[in-house]
Structures are given as structure tokens and as C-alpha cells.
Amino acid sequence: MQNVAIADQLDELHDPQTFITKYVYSQDHKVIAIQYAITAIFVGLIALALSGLMRLQLGFPDTFDFIDPSDYLQFVTMHGMIMVIYLLTALLLGGFGNYLIPLMVGARDMVFPFMNMLSFWFYLLSVIVLLASFFVPGGPTGAGWTLYPPQAILPGTPGHDWGIMLMLASLVIFIIAFTMGGLNYVTTVLQARTHGMTLMRMPLTVWGIFTATVLGLLAFPALLVSAIMMMLDKTLGTSFFMPALVSMGESLDYSGGSPVLFQHLFWFFGHPEVYIVALPAFGMVSDVLSTHARKNIFGYRMMVWAIVAIGGLSFVVWAHHMYVSGMLPAFGFFFATTTLIIAVPTAIKVYNWVLTLYRGNIHLTVPMLFAIGFIFTFTHGGLTGLFLGNVVIDLPLSDTYFVVAHFHMVMGVSPIMVLFAAIYHWYPLITGKMFNEKLGKIHFWFTFLGTYAIYLPMHYLGFLGVPRRYFAMGSTDFIPESAQSLNASITISALIVGLSQLIFLYNVIWSLRAGKPAGHNPWEATSLEWQTPDVPPHHGNWGAELPTVYRWAYDYGVPGAEKDFIPQNHPVTDAEQTAGEHEGR
């Protein structure tokens, strides 16, 4: 039986007629993407506010009566979980993945729009369940975002009753939502590309999102299973993760479970999760750098293979989060080795970004500033990762502020920098309006410098041995007084950076109405999403006919070409044919 490629199938899209089907129960990938993005940014702001509260307590202990130790732990937990899962994963994959994949590969929509829509509604439900935990008896869970048992479900941890159950339920719903979306992203990339769009002509954004989605589909099962097992431990009293233990002078009914099993399962999910967040960011930043430096990305093929290699390696490094967990110490050797091997493809990417900038025609636009900022923060966070990947150096630094500084630089700030770059970069496409450049630059400098003001001192706190997740230090012999003044300065910087995000919100909302019309392709980019007949693209994206792709996505500054960029859907000219340089790309 002969199968017809989707790109050749007759258009089966029906334009939505009513307001509800157009903007609420929409099956259009672009509307779903915006719904995802708005929800994710909304919960992200809540998590940002929580981090502000945490910083207030840390910077000025004994000042704020409304923050008690349980509250503090709950803030830590919810901040971490929301930022990692409900903001970064959802915004990068549900938001940008949904918006960009069909447009960049030249499809009219995702292959299964109805399931794509369900994906968003499940995501929204998971967010509601998560936020509901603020209003239940005992409040949200305070177990730390890693939710380690046995403490996560035992009395003494805030939210051990309702909070943890809602958290686990919300995660399960999120995983269902992610699976429905993820199946769509992967299948669309594999099966629904347009004429001439080979895998090796796809923009790196698509490669990053594609690989990250595959990672998600294979890593989230571990979280799903551990969430189910922990729920059973909590509700039915099974002992998967619960050893025999004495709590409050009473021996509990649990016996024979293994807390380390949970840690293995959690980090088998948790480490790929780092790359689920990082890979789309790698991809998007590559495209932003190339476009705004008016130069082809350096080493496209190596960039693709590096993404794939990082994705593969991310499944064999998980126990580097567990050097102090009491697992077999010999494992440390294996996991330290694999962890440091990941530095190789990652370093290839960083060199290639820098070499893309080298002798480029760099336009310091707002997205470009954020992209260059990302190279700084990511290199910085990556280098401290080398410290923590080595067992002997990790042991003294474990559970100190050094770890906090490291992962905030590498998977907190860096993907956020890319998200800002991406939002500013694609804002003219999504809305058809230009944002305010000046406000964008102010926002960048506050965010970028503020990042260093917050996280650089934390490395020193870590070297001093200041433990993380502590409500207050009290009087501790080995921590000097000056650590407290450092903490106060970090808090002030954090509050300033937090508030400066209002500039961004204002800019995004204000420009919707008052921004200058962006017109077609304001950045003069080559990739397909900028070549749609309408800006912003209409339902079905491409009008009557699908585009045909003749070249890779990075033909910037081609010698002899009319302009300094050649869109992917422009046929190869005779002159190029004879020059032969770009043949087959």
C-alpha cells in the first residue's frame, strides 16, 4: 500500500468560525502555543514572587514575621518545581515548540491538532491542581523540588498530607499533557516536513526542540512511575521508598523500602530534564545568533550532532546528582566520567557560537544582546559544572550555595536569557508588531548584570560552606559574619532584577497595541517561519500552496547574492550552481 506524504495531502483544515473555536478551544498550533506561553509565564511570575520572598528571608532574617520556616521550605519547593517543569519545560516545548515546529518545517499544523489542544488543557489542569495546593490544609509540599522520600510524606515536612499528593497528581497530569504534545512534535518533525525540507536543512531550533521532546518522552516515564509509587506509599501504606523508621518516637508501619531507589528514578528523569530545557535553548540561540550576526552558523552539522550526542549522553549521567546519597561509591567513577564527556559536545557548541560571531556583521539588537548574554552565563554555569561533576570536588560543595549558583547559572538564567531572546526575536512574527527597542535594552542590562550580582556571590557563599535550603543560619562557627552582608546584597539585587521584569511585561503588552507594525521579516531572516504570506501567519500558515525549500536555513552574507540573506524557499541560482559552494545544503 502506498502511503502519501502529509506534505502532498489535500488540505483538510477547516477554518474556525466562532470566537470560542478560534481562541479558546483552538486546534491551531499557534493559538495553542500562545495559550501555553501565557499560562507558563503566569505561573513563572508566581515562582518569581516566591523566590523574592525566599530572598527577603535570607537577606534579612528575623525581619519578616509572615515567613516562618515551613513557609520558607514551601517557597523553595514550589519555586523550583514551577520554574523547572511548569515554566521552562512548558514554555520552551509547549510554547515555542508548538509555535515554531510547523512553521519552520513548512507544515500547516501539527499532525494531530485535536490531541495538541488536549495537551494544553491537561497542562492547564496540572497548573490548577498545583496552585490549588496553596489553598489546602497544610499548604503546598515543602519537601524540596526533588521530593525525596521518606521526608516528603512524613509528618514534620510541611504539606506532607495534601500538598505532596496534589504535587504528585499535578506532575502525573503534566506528564500526560507533555506526552500528548510531545508525540505531536516528534511526529510532525519526522513526517510533515514540506518539499525539500530534509532533516539536515532544518533550523537548529527544530533540532533542539525535537531532540528535547524525544528526551522528554523517554525520561518523564521515570517521574511518572516514581510519582505513582510515592502516592501508593502515601495513601495505601506500601513501602517502595520507605524503610523501617522511627518518627516522633513511634516506629512506623513502613519497612523494607529504598529511598535511594527514588533518587535513582527521580534523577533518571531529572538529568535529562536539564537537557529538555537546555536543548531547545541551544537551538533557538543558534538561530538568533546567526540571524543577528548576518553570518551562517559555524559548523551546522557538528551543531546537530552535538545536540543529538548531548541528548544521548544525558541518559547515562543521572547519578552525579547522588554522589553523597550512599550509593555504591564505585558508581561515582562511571558517572563522573560520563558527566565530563558531556562537556565535549557542549564545548563544541559554545565554540561554534563564538565562531559564528567572529567577523560577523553583528547587530546589537535586543534578541542578540540576550543571546550573547546567554553565551556568558552558560559558559560560566558550564564551568562550575565541571567542578561538581568530579566526585572529590562535589563532596565538600554538595548542598551548599555553590550548587545553587551553578544550576541557576546553567539551567535557570541561561534558558531564561534564551527565552527572552526568543520572545523578542519572534515577537514581530507572533504579533505583527515591533516591541520597544529602548525598553528591551534596559530590560537586558538589568537582567544580565543583575544575574551576576545575584549568582556570582553565591559561589563564594558555597566555598564558605553555607548550606542551601536553610531558613536561617543562626550563629554558626565556620560561617563568617560577612556572609550575611553578602546575602543582603544578593537579596537587594534579586529584588531589583525581579522588579525589572515588569519592564518586559509592560513592553510586551504595550507593544501589542502601540508597537510599530513589524512588516514582513523585520530581521531579514532566512528560515521558513518568516516567509509566510501573512504576518502574523493565518490558520493553515501557508495560504494556497506549501513552500518549497531549496537550501539550508543559514544563507547569510552569501558572496555575490543580491541581499545579505537568501530565504530557504528561494531557488538556487545559476551563479550559485556554478560556484557550487552551497550545493546540497
Binding site: A5, I6, A7, F112, L261
Partner: protein, 227 residues
């Protein structure tokens, strides 16, 4: 279906060259309907779920200090005065494997366009699946009521025996139940003639899921009942 003659489309060629041609082609990587590929990817993800369930079970079992009950004794039945170890599980497994056979036949008849036989065979598959779930209910009832096994405790030894048993067979049972519902819906739509135009790939896609559920059972059978 129209035959595509675009020279850019790659068709399956054998060997490495075919693989390279598929992956370097435009439009689509695999020459299958998207639904089928999507089901394969979902099953890959689901494979990870069950692998992690089974790995967790093995970890829990190997780290037990309490005695692990002997499954062939626990799941033995007295039938007509004979003591038959694992007899119920054998029947259940037989029912499920048979249903894979009927499913494969349904796919065959679907592609031939024989609607009546397809529907009958799909219904038979669903019935075999339902009987599997029914037997599982019987097995659970016997274990809970007669043997006194609970998810949190077990008179015969390690409490984790009950925990892992109920969790893993329960999760698999949910998959079978979902499969029965899925099969029934698709069979009804086939009977109604919904796929006359679109083609019957959906029957094969349903079949993929069903075979997967059977295959998982083989692993559960091997690791839980035979170990």
C-alpha cells in the same frame, strides 16, 4: 489511495542504503501514515514506563530481607482435586496471546477491505481481552480475600510482594482495559464504514497497541510469576 510519483519521495529500500535514503529524504522520514509512527513513539515511551516499573520491582525484590513468597505456589489452584501451579496465569496468558493472533487476522482482513470479518475478529480480540481482565479480577479477589495479601502487608512474607504485584498487574490491567475500549470504538467505526475513504491503517495502529500490551504481559509473566 493515489499513488505518489514524486521523485523526491523515498521508498523503502533494503539495507543501509534504504536507511540513509529514508533519513536524508524530505517530507517524511518513514513511509508510514503519521498515526502509525505516533503510535510507535508512544509505545516506545510506554516501554520505558513498564521497564521502570519492572526495574523498580527487581530492585525492591533484591533488597528484601523478608522471605519472598514463591509465586508458583501463591498462584496455584485446586481444580478437581489436582494441585495446579500457575494454572490461572497460564490460561490468562493463553487468552492474551490468542487475542494477538485474532488481532493480526483482523488487520489482514481490514487491508483486504473485508469489513465484516474485521469487525468480528476485532470484537473477538476485545472479548478475549475482557476475559483476561475478568480472570485478573478473579485472581486479585482470591489473593485479597483468601490469601489475605494487601498492598501494604502479606502474611506469606515480604510486604513488597503485594505492593509490586498489585501495582504492576494493575497498571497492565488498566492498559488492557483501555485497549478493550479502544478496540470496541474502532471496531464500531469500522462497522459504520468510517474508514472507507481514509483507509484501514487505523486497524493496524490499534493492533500495534494491542500487541504491545501482550508483549508487556510476557515480560511481567517472566519476571513476576516465573522468577
Amino acid at each position: 489511495m493515489t499513488i505518489q510519483t514524486d521523485k523526491n519521495t523515498s521508498y523503502a529500500e533494503p539495507g543501509i542504503e534504504g536507511l540513509v535514503a529514508d533519513w536524508s529524504s524530505d517530507k517524511q522520514t518513514f513511509d508510514v501514515p503519521w498515526g502509525k509512527l505516533m503510535m510507535w513513539i508512544f509505545l516506545l515511551s510506554d516501554t520505558f514506563i513498564f521497564s521502570i516499573f519492572l526495574t523498580g520491582y527487581m530492585n525492591v525484590r533484591l533488597s528484601q530481607t523478608d522471605n519472598w513468597p514463591n509465586p508458583s505456589e501463591v498462584f496455584a489452584l485446586e481444580i478437581a482435586g489436582h494441585h495446579l501451579p500457575l494454572i490461572l496465569i497460564a490460561i490468562m496468558t493463553f487468552a492474551l496471546i490468542t487475542s494477538s493472533g485474532t488481532m493480526a487476522m483482523a488487520v489482514n482482513f481490514a487491508y483486504r477491505g473485508d469489513k465484516r470479518k474485521t469487525v468480528i475478529l476485532m470484537a473477538l480480540t476485545a472479548a478475549l481481552g475482557a476475559s483476561f481482565v475478568g480472570m485478573q479480577v478473579f485472581e486479585w479477589t482470591k489473593l485479597i480475600v483468601e490469601e489475605g495479601v494487601r498492598p501494604w502487608s502479606n502474611p506469606m512474607g515480604a510486604a513488597q510482594f503485594g505492593s509490586t504485584f498489585f501495582m504492576i498487574t494493575g497498571f497492565h490491567g488498566l492498559h488492557v482495559t483501555a485497549g478493550v475500549i479502544y478496540l470496541s470504538i474502532i471496531a464500531r467505526k469500522v462497522a459504520r464504514g468510517d474508514y472507507e475513504k481514509k483507509g484501514y491503517a487505523i486497524v493496524e495502529i490499534t493492533g500495534l497497541y494491542w500487541h504491545f500490551v501482550d508483549l508487556v504481559w510476557v515480560f511481567i509473566f517472566a519476571f513476576f510469576y516465573l522468577w
